[in-house]
Amino acid sequence: MPTLLRLEWRHVRRDLAFWLATLLLVAALIYGLANGLAWTRFQASTIRQAETLAAERLAAARTDAAKFDQAPPANLSPNLDPRDTRGFEFNYLRRFAVLPQAPAAALAVGQSDLLPSLHRVTYRPRDSFLHNYEIENPLRLMLGRFDATFVALYLLPLAVIVIAHGLLARERAGGTLALLQAQPLSLTRWLAARFFLRGGILLGVFAVATWAGWLGLGGAPSALGAVTVWLALVLAYGAFWFALAWFVASHSTSASGSALSLAATWLFFVILFPAGLNLALTQLYPPPSRAAFQDELREGTDDASRRGSQLLAQYLEDHPELAPAGKPGNENDFFRVRFAVNAEVERLAAPLRAAFTAQLGRQQTAIEHLRWLSPTLVLHHESLVLAGTDRARHQRWLAAIGDLHTRTVDFFAPRLLRSANFRDYDQVPALDFREPPPQRIAFLAALAALLIPASALLLLSGRRVGL
């Protein structure tokens, strides 16, 4: 084998298409990494802005509170007073729930350009703060990003096709195959050397370019582990396409024929299967109507507002601790009614929102199962999980936001209703979002899902190599 590889190197050196494909792939990879890193830097700076704003306002609340304690200002509206719960919540509290970036986020932009990763959670109904989009050109959302995962999913297989489609058929058409077959060597091993050398160089260069690009373009060195895991999957995906090219080469008689078969397979896996599956799933599990959702929410809010006092009575029955205690007058009635109405709106909205989540969940589950049918979807899914830009993680984060919202309401309700004084700057609830432990099994399953078909293809090709 070493001799065959050494001899094959003489061909590879002269193979202009091979070097051109490798060069273009590496250039695309570097551009993809640069794009991904630019996007994560943008996101990181947004998160920093949000956190700075939150910290500044909290510090201002403390200093202003101390200042106002020293010298109480005249005519200060409670809405602006940090020592008043209303004032603190309205004028000072700028608390953002942030979806933290995974270390390798730059590998796959995924859903992170579409779904917000920043919500300012208040005690008001969730729909008042959940519709918070990042500014983005819709055309770019539609086209998708040119990130490293795009390069791996779409362009790497095409580079493999350009390189490998003619490795056998060209020798056959050129007539050199007869002379080769007259030599005392196994043609299978000779073809294996052709594939291994080219595959080794292409994938090796891809791996080195990924590491070098990651470090050179400012990716976090601590994420190299995740990058390497991603790379392992990408290389397995590349191996699948080389195996497929081998299979096609051993069954096809002309280079054009194998190029067409490979291109058709690519088109199926990369374009038609995902798009068709998406179409089928949206037909099978259509999301509820957003317009109807808005309509019902609005109707419900109106109704709740009309029944304000009645709801309040009910609310206080459920929350006796919030009932007016000793405090004369109705100065907190506004808030009481508001909490009661908010609670009612939340009660109405919860099943509506759950209907969206449920349909989405059904689609997600179907994809989780059906992705094993396509190596492209296997790699896509794992890449997004590694980059932390997948839908499931976002859903977990939204669930954590729901929990934070509940705790926020519980935190502010008694304080707003029973005491105006506020000093609990350190006790404001914070987001409790925990990452699940990394799924080694899922990674290994994905790796197997890529390597098993690759090996099967090689076995099926068997020794069908010849004139």
């Binding site: 920043l118 799933l281 609005r298």
Partner: protein
């Protein structure tokens, strides 16, 4: 002579099992996607109409509410889908479908359909537009890559040229033969578009939508024609059919798959948009800036003088109506400055994308197709502009009513605020910003036709 070549080419293609299978598959794909889109357009239309009716009912049932309270109560404007979303949904899924119109604020639209989808949708929507713009060019390549290179390999080109067949006649004949075969695929797509325009368009808009559908078919025909001539030119120049195929597939990959994404990312790095957080903070800061309020004070003094009183309470009109309208108009200027600036950035990004049509015709056809279907960014912004005009008009009326409400207990007639209706811009203004795209597309067609002519002139067996 040409007729013979056309007949021969057409018969050869139609007899080819690969062509028949691929063509049938593409037609089925386009029709399935189109019919799913058809159903969705109808459903969204009905939902938007129902929600609009609900909003209107709530608005009219406000009773004796204070006009400014009603302004805060506000109303939602729902965006109905455009009929040609059946052939090209464009960016529709990535734009909000409802805007809340209320006092003091120009809101951003809510409810992007894509937010309820999975990551799969980011592989691209299966639509007749995808078939026409990405898959049919592949079929064209499949039809034509061997037109000359294959004949040369088989040795039949030698015989043809020895017979005295003129290379140019050969080109025209083969091109027409391929076009005839392609027509079999294009006709169902065109029929789908025309039917959508005729049957789904709201009354009064059928004419414009029909014109859009025909233009949609026309630009796609030009686009595919450019691909056909490119394919024939490469086939005539290439040494072998394999080389022709690999070169053409490479062009398709770079020009149709990779370039659009690369361009849109380039657009963002050249014309960055601010983060939503920063944008809103700056907007809030501008709105909260007390600078400019002195004009209001001057106005107050003037009005007090006009009515000969010294306190606003003593005025025969309700001062707060005037003050609120003043605030609206001041805020409107700020909104215009911020949103126009943001939209200009988006337009600048899109013009970088449009320039990419120099490298490949794909960006041009994508922009044109979306615009003709009414699902491009510009027409969405037009919807937002119309909704915002409606909001401003609504505030003016309500604040006027508030101003004149002093001493009268009559309830506001809620019918004075008309329901919001979006009137889509006509095809001419939808296409106006895309004249460069149209020019690029036609230039591609002309250049590839010339290239093919030159290539066959030099044809050597």
């Amino acid at each position: 002579m040409i007729a013979t070549i056309v007949r021969h080419t057409f018969a050869e293609l139609v007899r080819d099992g690969r062509f028949r299978l691929t063509a049938a598959l593409l037609v089925v794909l386009a029709l399935v996607a189109g019919l799913a889109g058809w159903q969705q357009v109808r459903a969204l239309h009905a939902e938007a109409a129902a929600a609009g009716t609900g909003e209107r009912g709530r608005w009219l049932g406000q009773g004796g509410k204070n006009p400014h309270a009603a302004a805060h109560y506000g109303t939602y404007a729902f965006k109905a889908p455009r009929p040609l979303a059946v052939v090209d949904p464009g960016v529709q899924a990535y734009l909000g479908s409802a805007v809340f119109l209320e006092a003091h604020r120009q809101n951003e639209p809510l409810h992007r359909p894509a937010q309820d989808g999975t990551a799969l949708q980011r592989f691209g929507d299966l639509s007749p537009a995808l078939v026409g713009q990405a898959l049919l060019p592949l079929l064209v390549i499949l039809l034509g890559y061997a037109a000359f290179a294959g004949e040369r390999e088989r040795g039949t080109l030698r015989q043809l040229l020895a017979l005295g067949v003129q290379p140019l006649h050969l080109l025209v004949g083969k091109a027409l033969g391929c076009i005839a075969a392609l027509t079999l695929v294009l006709v169902p797509l065109a029929a789908l578009g025309v039917a959508a325009a005729a049957l789904l368009a709201p009354p009064g808009q059928q004419g414009d939508e029909l014109l859009r559908a025909l233009a949609w078919v026309a630009v796609h025909t030009i686009y595919l024609g450019a691909f056909l001539f490119l394919t024939l030119a490469v086939s005539a120049l290439a040494r072998s059919a394999r080389t022709a195929l690999v070169v053409l597939l490479g062009f398709w990959l770079i020009g149709v798959v990779a370039l659009p994404r690369a361009l849109s990312d380039l657009g963002r790095s050249l014309h960055p948009t601010p983060s939503s957080l920063a944008f809103r903070n700056e907007l809030d800061a501008a709105l909260g800036d007390p600078h400019g309020r002195e004009t209001l004070e001057a106005q107050r003094v003037a009005i007090l003088k006009q009515y000969g009183v010294s306190r606003t309470q003593d005025l025969p009109i309700n001062w707060s109506g005037i003050a609120l309208q003043f605030g609206e108009e001041r805020a409107n200027q700020i909104f215009d400055r911020f949103f126009q600036g943001l939209w200009a950035t988006l337009a600048a990004q899109d013009s970088i994308f449009q320039l990419g049509a120099i490298v490949s015709p794909a960006p041009a056809i994508q922009l044109l197709s979306q615009a003709l279907a009414g699902n491009d960014t510009a027409q969405h912004l037009n919807f937002l502009t119309q909704a915002e005009q409606h909001r401003r008009e609504m505030q003016r009326t309500l604040n006027g009513a508030l101003r004149d409400s002093k001493g009268s207990n009559a309830a506001f007639d809620w019918n004075r605020i008309p329901p919001f209706g979006f009137s889509p811009p006509p095809i001419t203004s939808a296409l106006a910003p895309l004249l460069p795209s149209l020019a690029f597309l036609i230039a591609w067609f002309a250049a590839t036709a010339v290239a093919a002519t030159v290539a066959v002139r030099r044809l050597r067996a």
